[in-house]
Amino acid sequence: MTTTPAATSSLTAPAATPGLSFGQAVRLIAEREIVTRLRSRAFQVSTGIMLLAALAGVIAGGALGGRASTTTVAMVGDVAAVQQASGLAVRHVDSLAEATTLVRAGTVDAAVVADRSSPAGIRIIADESSPDALVAALSVKPDVSLLDPPRIPSGLRYAAAFGFALIFLMSSATFGGTIAQSVVEEKQTRIVEILISAISTRTLLTGKILGNSLLAFAQVVVTGAFAVIGLSVTGESATLSLLGAPIAWFVIFFVIGFVLLASMFAAAASLVSRQEDIQATVTPVTMLVMIPYFLVIFFHDNSLVLTIMSYVPFSAAVGMPLRIFLAEASWWEPLLSLLILIAGTIGVIIVAAKIYGNALLRTGAKISVREALRSSGVD
């Protein structure tokens, strides 16, 4: 136990220590959140899986959608209709018996013979099921004029709805859960008391939300980039041009919508003191993330539900870009929805900051939201 001046001065920092602004403190906290996450094995693995899934989805989608089907047909004699139809590989045979043998052997999909007794003047012979594509190709169809033609094939419509919702669900659940865990970790290990003796709870909350939002955003951008690369590699540039604007809107809505959810996850997590209790308060927030996901899957072709969803802050990030993609939204609608989302987010942040600030030092049993809003009572 010596008290030497040398020992004292060795600990002394430069006398004029620069102060720490709100922005600098937020940056420090956000930085720590990001570095900690990037180092975590779970994060590395889940990001890898997400990227592979995006790439595989695009490639599989292209392979399925782009498959051109040709029907091979055995023709007895000359049938005018077959010669005029496109997409048929025609094989000339001499007799009906020979054609039937080829059909049975599966060498050709069907045989076509002239038949005067049929109203169409031809007969199609197939093995087990009626070859619809061939029937359609040989049918005489009246011309149809659509007054309001759909731009988006229904398969793509479903894929887009599913894609937006899936990315939103995955990112929100992953990073929302991460924020919740990191809030409880600080509470459970009690380091939070040291932290808030140096900085305000508002600074801490802002830093945590910012750090995790940036990571979530980066993950979505990288996933999006993979999807775009996939689309152009598989030659689906037409789809790409349709998706461009909705993706841009999705990113804008996602960023703000994510901040909204992140604040709620942080506030919910601050109500408990142990990782074991986290599910109890975080589950309601998780439900708010799941709802848009299921609404999109079940109601992607119901425009009333989609319209409502595109204005509700929790589901706007999925609903509005989808409606833009489907060309169902007027130009002002995304702006209005964005305003509602921003207002809702600000409101939620104010309430969340209050809950978070009041609940941080209260340890022990789970605290109710009402209690946390009322006072910061600490025993």
Binding site: M1, T2, T3, A7, T8, S10, L11, T12, A13, P14, T17, P18, G19, L20, A25, L28, I29, R32, T36, E185, E186, Q188, T189, R190, I191, V192, E193, I194, L195, I196, S197, A198, I199, S200, L361, T363, S375, S376, G377, V378, D379
Partner: protein, 294 residues
Amino acid sequence: MLEITKINRSFGARQVLTDVSFDVPGGRITGFVGRNGAGKTTTMRIVLGVLTADSGEVRLNGALLTPADRRRFGYMPEERGLYPKMPVAEQLVYLARLHGLSQRAARHNTTDLLAKLELSDRAGDKVETLSLGNQQRAQIAAALVHDPQALILDEPFSGLDPLAVDVVLSVLRERAAAGVPVLFSSHQLDIVEQLCDDLVIIADGTIRAAGPRDELRDRYAGTTYQATFGTDAGWLRDQPGITVTDFDGPNVIFDAGSPEAAQSVLAAAVARGPVLSFSPRRPRLAEIFKEVIQ
């Protein structure tokens, strides 16, 4: 000097601090004593700004505390904790920077402090991999790494192994010697008595006694005396107005009732034979504590 003036605080309907006032002078170690639930932690949290007071103020060198001042305080909460999965040195640098130090100063202080606490070879290890004793040292480092202007330590000795106690003691003395106000709470009265220059005793949210340790001991000495005579002191028990509380051959402890009565006892003793010692008896902290918290 840190001045705490008329702090009040209640949680709901329960008033936990009532007009709490005391000073923590720079260059001295102040011990903050009280039972569990007396209000020690709440008071310290209010000084640090972790909690707000309903009324009252805290001043440092005459000026009201600002968040920037508080950022330069060193705090060791009663509930210990660091990030378990973060390397020791990285964590200390992070905490130092949150307290406003530059990256360079934070690194410099971290390296110095780890060397001093003999933790240098564990600098890159995660906190959770350290032994309990080393985790406690890391915790001490967390309170000191930003070279604090004031130290507030809540039960710094509880749960410490003997080696770590020595480290904390030396660090507190060193800080105090550098002119920093040091306030620490404890319920281990013997450590407080041994270490601190000043004492603050709190019970049920009110300050019961505060001041330099020796002054307090004198104040609560009352009219109790201890004496050692050359012969058996048994005769003292028959003196009117004198209450003997402890007696063992020539050694005796007694309450004289008044200083004058004590002088008469001394005169009588000198008349009977040699008097080897005769002095007012300074109470131990535990005795003062028992008396003032009632």
